[in-house]
């Protein structure tokens, strides 16, 4: 397993239903990645604003880490984990 840092701001389609945010798809380099599964989620409350993290598997089976910053509601694509 190889974790590659991406640190890119991305456009994310998300569901905010039921007081919980769930990413549905994100666009990277002009290509849409549909979220097939949210593997786990966690919140970092150490800073001034909470940061919401999601480990997601896209429709290709790749695992990405997405982050929603609570302060400015910006989405970041933190990293991708590659097999091998």
């Amino acid at each position: 397993m190889k974790n590659e840092a991406l640190d890119e701001a991305v456009a994310v389609r998300a569901d905010f239903q039921g007081g919980q945010v769930t990413p549905i798809a994100f666009k990277r380099r002009g290509r849409e990645h549909r979220v097939a599964r949210v593997n786990t989620r966690w919140v970092d409350r150490a800073g001034k604003h909470p940061r919401f993290y999601f480990s997601v598997t896209d429709h290709n089976g790749d695992v990405y880490q997405l982050q929603l910053q609570g302060g400015d509601l910006l989405w970041w694509l933190d990293s991708v984990t590659l097999e091998g």
Binding site: M1, K48, S55, G71
Partner: protein, 478 residues
């Protein structure tokens, strides 16, 4: 009798020797002690509903705080109940949650040595502290990950938050916690059932499993939990303690490390029961003051309170270098970075630090550590750094490359303002204001937004992200 504690019905009795059978490492069998094992869920009970969320527990059992005496001494009863909660294979389990491709595979987290390994990896004989080279030899297919300390902290905080719905007195460590449950039966009813609900709430919320032990004190709660790992729940009553302890190996007794165990084994004392043959005076003569504690503990007695420590004992930051180095700019740069992180953590708790310790590990395995106290407690980077650099220069005298460096801050005080000589006041104020401003920037933009002084030398050699430099072995201790 079953191997899976989760499948046991309410108040099912499990003999201690059956529990040991699940753990081949336990060479001694316990006397036939009844352990109440994992409780089946109340039908229709919601995972968190049973935790009485929103109930004013503090109002019923007193407000949380380090200065408050333990509940069992307040109420005057001798029926104390402590819960020990341990997160199973903490780091490795989180990595398996984050990447489902790792499920069912042997996973270890660590750099240099194993910090945590999944239960799949443990089947190959891998365990914490083992060098990675040996781990690879024993299990070539093992997946080795360097770890994400920040992620682990978030998961632990969430679990401890759920623990506080059960008791206001929660003493937390990196992957375990003690909860003082004495007197909370009035709120929660049966404590075994309440603990089962807590375990379920944790699993529903985080996806992680925990092992819980309920006992009449901290030591026994932890020990009884160990008999049902992973994902288990067990309870030991006070009257069962002596029988439970008798046949356990001496190393399992809290306070008996490798050195003490060697001494005791050389005297043919192999079980905790054997230790009871020694009078207190002999144990004191052998081990000094801790001998008195051993005398009590081998009889199942432990009076240590559960304290929700608001002030930590120490804050440490350490890492190994990506490549062993003798370059003073790299070493001092890393030390400045680590001091900055430790001081920021100290300021976030509104504390100032008195004692600074610097630890070095050389590439040949030798290590050195020195500590000194500041004239006045402080939490500003330049003051602590000056002392840390002095300690580094005093110790780094060997002509051998360094493998790792670390700093530990301890002896905290609540006074937040840096005090100095009368004519230093203006400068101290300016330093404190600068630190506050930097903290604000870092809170908004990440620690890596500002890199100071010598730490600039790390750029280009140590990977960096918004959270700062990506250390090879970030502190995985609390």
């Amino acid at each position: 009798m079953t191997a899976d504690p989760k499948s046991l019905p309410r108040s099912a009795a499990v003999a201690g020797d059956a529990q040991d059978a699940r753990h081949p490492s336990a060479t001694h069998h316990t006397a036939p002690v009844r352990l109440e094992a994992s409780v089946a869920a109340e039908p229709g009970t919601h995972a968190t509903g049973g935790l009485a969320s929103g109930t004013d527990i503090a109002g019923m059992v007193g407000s949380a705080g380090a200065s408050r005496p333990p509940l069992h001494t307040q109420t005057g009863t001798d029926t104390r109940t402590v819960l020990h909660l341990d997160i199973d294979a903490f780091f490795a389990s989180i990595e398996q949650l984050r990447d489902p491709r790792l499920k069912g595979r042997p996973v270890i987290v660590g750099a240099g040595v194993i910090a945590s390994c999944s239960y799949e990896a443990r089947r190959f004989g891998l365990k914490a502290g083992m060098p990675l080279g040996e781990a690879r030899r024993r299990c070539p297919q093992v997946v080795i990950l360097e770890g994400h300390a920040q992620v682990y902290r978030c998961f632990a905080e969430r679990i401890f938050e759920l623990c506080r719905t059960l008791s206001p007195d929660v003493e937390t460590y990196l992957d375990e916690a003690y909860l003082e449950l004495t007197g909370t039966e009035r709120v929660h009813g049966d404590l075994l059932a309440a603990t089962a609900r807590l375990r379920r709430a944790i699993q529903d919320d985080t996806g992680l499993t925990v092992t819980c032990g309920l006992g009449p004190n901290r030591m026994l709660a932890k020990l009884v939990g160990k008999t049902v790992k992973p994902d288990g729940l067990a309870r030991l009553h006070e009257h069962e303690a002596e029988a439970f302890l008798t046949a356990r190996p001496i190393e399992q007794l809290a306070g008996v490390g490798h050195a003490h165990a060697r001494t005791l084994r050389s005297m043919n004392l192999r079980s905790i029961g054997d230790l009871r043959a020694l009078p207190m005076g002999t144990l004191e003569a052998l081990f000094g003051a801790p001998g008195r504690l051993l005398y009590e503990r081998c009889r199942g007695r432990d009076t240590a309170p559960v304290t929700a420590r608001e002030v930590p004992l120490s804050i440490s930051r350490e890492t190994s270098f990506h490549h062993d180095t003798a370059d003073p700019r790299q070493i001092e740069g890393m030390l400045e970075y680590l001091v900055g992180r430790a001081c920021r953590a100290t300021r976030e708790l509104d504390l100032t630090v008195r004692t600074v310790s610097v630890r070095l590990r050389y590439s040949d395995g030798e290590s050195a550590e020195q500590a000194r106290s500041l004239r006045q407690p402080s939490a500003v980077d330049p003051v602590v750094l000056a002392l840390a650099l002095d300690l580094l220069r005093r110790q780094a005298t060997r002509r051998v490359a360094l493998h790792a460096v670390g700093v530990t801050l301890s002896q905290f005080t609540r006074d937040t303002a840096e005090q100095g000589a009368l004519f230093d006041e203006a400068q101290a104020g300016r330093r404190a204001a600068l630190c506050e401003a930097l903290d604000r920037v870092r809170a908004d933009h990440g620690h890596g937004a500002v890199v100071s002084g010598r730490a600039l030398h790390l750029r280009g050699t140590v990977p960096q992200d918004r959270h700062g430099f990506v250390l090879r072995t970030p502190s995985l201790t609390k």
